[in-house]
Each structure stands twice: as structure tokens, then as C-alpha cells.
């Protein structure tokens, strides 16, 4: 059994990343709208632009951050590298390149998703509830991942797909937390309606999981700890990092236990950032700084993987 081409490893990694990114962007757009239900002024879409550091780029071509413009920017605009359409198109191009390494069902599903994205127009998105558009896109991504789980040979290609998926998911969960906690006043948790807490948890499919783990508490600290550290929750940052570590270990085993020292440093840095945590007394600012650190460590990890396996040196 020969090893995987370095170029394909990279395509598989990005296939995983782009689809996970598309799913999470859809989740974020949804949660931003839902949060604003009680606000007569409607959702503040600049929050999402901040979250992805897109404010400057967005205002180059738009005057106003209204629903129409922001949804077009994040859902349909193929020229915007942070849009869902861009992610799906790129996921498909990556899948096309490694078409011979993935299953026919995976390929078919990504084509269905891609065709569905191409059929979307702004008027239809504005007409239907954003929630149904968003959940449709999330379902496409989940269908793909489910098909991958059931049909993708557990070899090297699978490991790279998983690496991309979990690194992206870890990053995205930190962003959901960031947007959530920025909106919710940490100083006065009682002022926050339980509807808003549950909405944030639901946006990462974590509401019932959280309830099961913490039946009697809705404290902001518990919820943050849950999303960061509960390794039984599939979207928790710690679980994602654990999966990344496992896949890296698989790859070392596969390559005759060849140690990849260049991966050890960023892995330890990531571990350290997570162990340090946001501090005992949770504040919005501290949490934000902590999440920033984790995001930087995740990016370093991604670069190290590229250097070790994709022939980027």
C-alpha cells in the first residue's frame, strides 16, 4: 500500500475544512437572527462581520450592513472567500480532485449541495425564513459527513479529511462562544433570558446535551466550560483537539512511526492554551482573549500540518 500523494492530503484536509466552515457559517447567520427576535431594530449584522474580521472588506462594496447585503455576502457571493457558496464550490473542487479517493455517495452528495447552492437567489432567501435556508444548508453538510462516516475507507485520506474537519470545528466553536458571550452580559446573567442561552446552545446542537450534563444550572461559566471542555460533546473545542491529536497519531503509525517533531510544538502550545483557560472569574474580555489565543494556536497547528504533510516548506 503506497502512501497518499501530498497534494491529495491537502485537498482532503480542505474538503473537510470547507464543509465544516459552510455548516458553521450557516449556524452563525441563524443564531444572529434568532438573538434579535426581541430587538425591535432587528438583527445587528455587523456582529457577524466583526466575528469573521470581514468589516473592512464588506464595506468596500456595500454601504449598509442590512440583512439583504450581509446574507448575500455570506451565503451567495462567490467572490467572498468567507461565503457559504465559496466554501461549497471549493469543497467540491477539492472533492473533484480526490474524486477517486472518496466514495461515490460522498461525491454525489457534494454535487447535490453544490447544485442547490447554485439554484439559490437572494429574493428566495429573503422570502423564506432564514432559519429554514440555514438549516437546509446545515443538513447538506451533516448528510455529507454522515455519508463519509458510513462509506469512507478508514485510511490516510480519511485521516486528513478528519483533521481538516475537526480543526475547523474547534475554530468555529470558539467563534460561536465569542459572538454569544459578547452579546450576553456576563456581569448580570440574570438579565439574560434563558431563551438566548438556549438559542446559543441550540446553534451548536448542544442544548439537550447541556441539559443532560447540567440539569439544574444555566450559568454562563458552566455553558462556556461545556462548549470548551466537555469531551463528550462532539462540538466542544477539547473534543475536536483530541480528535486532531488522534488522527496525527494514526498518521505517524501509518508512516512507520516516523515522528513529526515539527507537529509537537504547536500541539503542546494548543494544549497549554486550553489548560490555561479563561480564568476562574469569567468576563467577556478575558474570554475573548482566551478564545483569541486558542484560535492562533489552531492556525499554527494548521500551518505545521501543511509543512509536515503537504510539501509546503
Amino acid at each position: 500500500m503506497s502512501s497518499l500523494l501530498a497534494r491529495f492530503a491537502e485537498n482532503l484536509y480542505w474538503l473537510g475544512r470547507y464543509l465544516e466552515r459552510a455548516e458553521n457559517t450557516a449556524r452563525i447567520l441563524h443564531i444572529n437572527e434568532t438573538y434579535a427576535r426581541d430587538n425591535p431594530a432587528g438583527p445587528d449584522w455587523r456582529r457577524v462581520l466583526d466575528l469573521y474580521s470581514d468589516t473592512e472588506r464588506f464595506f468596500e462594496n456595500h454601504d449598509q450592513a442590512n440583512a439583504r447585503a450581509v446574507l448575500d455576502f455570506y451565503i451567495l457571493d462567490r467572490g467572498n472567500p468567507t461565503s457559504i457558496a465559496f466554501s461549497v464550490a471549493n469543497a467540491r473542487e477539492n472533492a473533484r480532485t480526490v474524486r477517486h479517493l472518496i466514495s461515490t455517495e460522498m461525491w454525489t452528495q457534494i454535487n447535490l449541495f453544490h447544485n442547490a447552492m447554485k439554484a439559490k437567489t437572494l429574493p428566495t432567501i429573503m422570502l423564506s425564513q432564514l432559519s429554514s435556508v440555514a438549516s437546509g444548508m446545515v443538513t447538506h453538510c451533516q448528510t455529507f459527513d454522515g455519508i463519509a462516516d458510513g462509506t469512507f475507507l478508514r485510511g490516510e485520506p480519511y485521516s486528513f479529511y478528519q483533521l481538516g474537519k475537526y480543526l475547523e470545528r474547534a475554530d468555529q466553536t470558539t467563534r460561536v462562544l465569542d459572538i454569544g458571550y459578547d452579546r450576553l452580559s456576563l456581569q448580570d446573567p440574570d438579565a439574560v433570558s434563558s431563551v438566548q442561552w438556549s438559542t446559543m446552545l441550540r446553534s451548536v446542537s448542544g442544548y439537550h446535551a447541556y441539559r443532560y450534563r447540567h440539569p439544574a444550572s444555566s450559568s454562563p461559566g458552566d455553558i462556556a466550560t461545556f462548549l470548551l471542555y466537555d469531551t463528550e460533546f462532539p462540538r466542544a473545542v477539547a473534543l475536536c483537539i483530541q480528535r486532531v491529536t488522534e488522527r496525527l497519531h494514526d498518521l505517524e503509525q501509518r508512516h512507520d512511526k516516523q515522528r513529526r517533531d515539527e507537529l509537537e510544538k504547536p500541539r503542546r502550545a494548543l494544549e497549554f492554551a486550553m489548560d490555561t483557560g479563561p480564568g476562574a472569574k469569567l468576563t467577556s474580555k478575558r474570554l475573548h482573549q482566551f478564545l483569541d489565543n486558542v484560535q492562533i494556536s489552531l492556525a499554527d497547528m494548521s500551518n505545521a500540518i501543511a509543512n509536515a504533510y503537504f510539501g509546503h516548506t
Binding site: S2, L4, A6, R7, T108
Partner: protein, 486 residues
């Protein structure tokens, strides 16, 4: 028949209004071919609406499966489906036997020819084929002289274009011995057909086509450099922007082989390696889907970015096998084509099983005279073009077009051949709401390692425009599933 009639009382049988006119019909023959009787009665029992619905579903499925040609523009990738017609083309056991043995004979002779012209060139010395036609040919590669190939195989993968004339006689139109494409459609069409119309073939013994990938892998293993019992075989593609990329993916999957691009390969000490996640890994056999010209910038076109520097050196050292071999283009040249019957007799001392379409060679005075005298009745083809480009169909051309052709012919006669107009056979084909006759050809695929194996059936291409004889996908052609009855 009475049963069919009862079932379809409220509707017209599918083939009721079908009239192939003066053409030979693959389904009806001259007087109703007996081997297609059962299939015809099943087709007649299908209602037109249902047939069209199933055809539409099949087309959607092609799109979802990504079985497409991709045309790239600045911003978008546009996927075009090769149109698929749901009425199969059926070949009798007897016709297939003739095609199979005829194709094997032809490839055997062409491989001997290629070995000869790159070694002692007896056939040229004996004056059977003009030496300058071969050695002065653009596709002749002097770099190949004296190189011995495993089993003397040059054309490992061949796609011979075969047509049936107005009388129903099979003949060869072209030997595609460079990089023939289309085999993926043979297999995908079959899968699609069996999903959309399982009832049509139920109980009819049709030869399987699924073993192609395995056979191809076996042939590639057989021609590996000496002493390689477990060679690493790869498929070399120009990349995702190539229109046939889907087929390259298909082949790699069917063979279980890595699909590589030039940039994934590197030559060190005249040995070929691929760049993997675990470092460099040796490669022994390359099924390349890149033209000779682009294979190696050191040996051929220096501006090629698709190829691998040093690949040809490794090849000459016998460290890697290329399939097809370099320099096969001279054997499927349209001018050399005219000599293939003589090539078969020369090496095998046999009569050709499959005849050529009679061909005038314009480089010969006699051939040129016959062509010029009869321009409006002949099909004239430039010898260097592929894909149906530059072909002038005399009876369908204007006086001006013929005048232009006459000038070109006189200026460069060696660039042309001419053939009588072959009134290609037709197949019933679903066009809009009706079933109409459309012209077809056939491209069976043959694999040669130690010996030759032919995939039963092949690609039936169909010219979807009424009256058109051009079946190429680039010019409005589609395809059909091809059934060989066993």
C-alpha cells in the same frame, strides 16, 4: 406480439412510427434483425411518457454523479453532461465475434509495425509503406529508435472507430492508438441503463463491462519494467481543468491506482518517484493521459508545465513503462491508416478481418486525381487533425467551400486523404417526444499487455442532430449503452 398489443391498446407502440428510410438500422436491419426481436417488443411495451420521464431522471443522475465534461470560464465551472440516449444499441454475437477478432488482428499488426519502424524498418525497406510517410511524419519519434519495450507492446490501450455502411458491412474508420477516451462512458452508461431500465434487459444475456479496470491493471502489471512483480501503477492526468478529467478519475478508481499530475512526479537518478505524505515513493508504470509533446520538457516541448523533467530518460533506461508508448501516433495517422490492410498482410500473412473504408491517399498522384475529380462526392479529411475538425463532406458543402478545399489540396496534397461518403448506420433514438433514426459509430476498447483483450461492446456515439454524420462529443454527439448479446 398479441400480448404487447393488449398492453398498449391506449397508446402507440414506441417504434410504430419509426422509419430508418434508406439507412441500415442497427435495430431493424433490412428486414428486421432476429436478435433484436425481444428487445424491440419490450421497447414497444414501454409508453412514451414513461420513457421520457425515465430518460430525464437518468440525465439528472448524470449531473448529480458529476459524470460531466467541465468547461472552465473565468469565474465558473460549467458542467456539461454527455447526452445519453436510453435506447440501447444491440450487437449480435456474430457481429461481435468479427469485431473482436478484427480488432485483435489490427492491434497485433500495428504493434509489430511500430516495433519494426523503430528498429530495423523492414516494412519501409520492402517498400510496403513509403519511408518518408513514416519517418517524415510529425508523430514519428526518432527518440524511440532502438528501444525495446516489454512484450513489444506500444499500443496498450486502443479505441478503434468502427462504422457500418449502407449495406450493413462493418469497417474501420480510424485506429486511435494515442490516448483514446470514452471508456468511462461505456461503463457509466451501463450502470445508468441498469438503474433506469432494469426491466429492459431482464433475462437477456448481455456481456458484462465491469471488468475493465481490473483488466487494465493486469495489462499494466504485465508490461512493468523487468523483475517488477508488484509494480506501482499510476494514472497521469493533465489535471482538473482537462475536459476528460472525469474519465481520469474513473480509471484511477477502477484500477485502485493513484491519480497523479506532472507536478507530483520527480525523476532522480533516472528513476521516477511520486511525492507522498511519507516522502518520495517509486513509480513503475504510468498510464499517461498527456500527449507525447507534453510528457517531458527536457525531451519534447520545453514549455510544457504538465510533464515531468527527465521522464523520457528514465523511460529509455527501462526504469518506467509508459502506456501508451511514445511515438504511437504514427500508426493511427490518417495517411498511414490507408496502408493498414497491407500492414496486416505483411506481418501476419492474413487478410484483414475488418476492412478499411476505401481511402484515396492524396500524396499519391492517383489518389489526388481521384479526389480532385470527385470532390463533391467524397469526404476529405486533413490527416493531422482529431475530433472531426477540418473534415469536408463533399455532398453537403457549398461550391465555395469546395473551391477553398481544392486550393488547399493542391497546395498540400500530402496533408489529405479522401473517402467515399459512408452512409453510417442508424439507431432508433429518443428525440423530444419521438423516436427517430440517428447515425452511430462504435468505439470498442482493447487492452494489450502480453496479449490483447477487447471490452465487449464499446462506446456507441450518436449524432443527435438530424442527418448529421458527426458523432464527436465536441460537435453535438451523445452516446448509447452498447449491448453485446451472448
Amino acid at each position: 406480439m398479441s400480448n404487447t398489443r393488449r398492453q398498449s391498446q391506449s397508446r402507440t407502440p414506441l417504434l410504430a412510427d419509426y422509419d430508418p428510410g434508406d439507412y441500415f438500422c442497427e435495430m431493424l436491419g433490412r428486414r428486421g434483425l432476429s436478435h433484436t426481436r425481444e428487445i424491440r417488443s419490450r421497447l414497444n411495451a414501454l409508453d412514451n411518457g414513461g420513457l421520457r420521464r425515465r430518460a430525464r431522471d437518468a440525465e439528472t443522475e448524470l449531473l448529480n454523479l458529476g459524470i460531466t465534461f467541465t468547461v472552465y470560464s473565468d469565474r465558473d465551472a460549467i458542467d456539461r453532461v454527455l447526452p445519453f440516449d436510453v435506447i440501447p444499441r444491440v450487437l449480435s454475437t456474430k457481429d461481435w465475434e468479427m469485431i473482436e477478432t478484427g480488432v485483435k488482428q489490427r492491434i497485433t499488426a500495428l504493434n509489430l509495425f511500430l516495433h519494426d519502424i523503430y528498429h530495423d524498418a523492414y516494412i519501409l525497406k520492402d517498400g510496403i509503406v513509403p519511408a518518408d510517410l513514416v519517418q517524415g511524419n510529425d508523430n514519428y519519434r526518432p527518440e524511440m529508435r532502438g528501444l525495446d519495450l516489454p512484450h513489444g507492446t506500444y499500443i496498450h490501450i486502443c479505441g478503434t472507430d468502427i462504422v457500418r455502411d449502407g449495406k450493413g458491412k462493418l469497417c474501420v474508420l480510424e485506429d486511435n492508438g494515442r490516448i483514446p477516451s470514452g471508456v468511462s462512458y461505456v461503463i457509466e452508461n451501463r450502470h445508468l441503463m441498469m438503474r433506469a431500465f432494469p426491466d429492459l434487459a431482464d433475462g437477456i444475456a448481455v456481456a458484462e463491462v465491469d471488468q475493465y479496470g481490473e483488466r487494465l491493471m493486469r495489462a499494466m502489471t504485465e508490461v512493468a519494467p523487468q523483475g517488477m512483480s508488484h509494480p506501482e501503477v499510476v494514472v497521469l492526468s493533465p489535471g482538473i481543468f482537462n475536459a476528460a478529467y472525469f474519465e481520469h478519475v474513473f480509471l484511477a478508481r477502477e484500477m485502485g491506482a493513484p491519480l497523479v499530475e506532472g507536478r507530483d512526479l520527480i525523476v532522480e537518478n533516472d528513476k521516477v518517484f511520486m511525492r507522498t505524505t511519507a516522502g518520495l515513493s517509486p513509480v513503475h508504470v504510468i498510464y499517461r493521459r498527456i500527449n507525447d509533446d507534453f510528457l517531458d520538457p527536457e525531451a519534447f516541448r520545453p514549455d510544457s508545465t504538465l510533464g515531468v523533467p527527465g521522464l523520457f530518460r528514465a523511460y529509455r533506461k527501462g526504469n518506467v513503462t509508459l502506456a501508451n508508448a511514445v511515438g504511437t501516433g504514427v500508426a493511427d495517422d490518417k495517411a498511414v491508416y490507408a496502408y493498414v490492410p497491407r500492414i496486416i498482410r505483411y506481418y501476419l500473412d492474413e487478410d484483414p478481418i475488418l476492412p478499411n473504408v476505401p481511402t484515396n491517399i492524396c500524396r499519391e498522384a492517383d489518389g489526388l486525381a481521384k479526389t480532385l475529380d470527385n470532390l463533391d462526392g467524397l469526404v476529405t479529411k486533413p490527416v493531422g487533425e482529431a475530433g472531426g475538425y477540418g473534415v469536408v463532406i463533399g455532398p453537403r458543402s457549398s461550391q465555395r467551400e469546395l473551391r477553398e478545399l481544392r486550393t488547399k489540396l493542391k497546395a498540400d496534397p500530402a496533408n489529405y486523404i479522401s473517402q467515399p461518403m459512408v452512409s453510417l448506420s442508424v439507431c432508433p433514438t429518443l428525440i423530444g417526444r419521438k423516436v427517430e433514426p440517428r447515425h452511430v459509430d462504435l468505439r470498442p476498447f482493447a487492452l494489450t499487455g502480453k496479449s490483447t483483450w477487447v471490452l465487449p461492446g464499446g462506446l456507441t456515439r450518436v449524432a443527435l442532430r438530424r442527418g448529421s454524420l458527426v458523432v464527436n462529443s465536441s460537435q453535438g454527439g451523445g452516446s448509447k449503452d452498447t449491448w453485446v448479446l451472448v
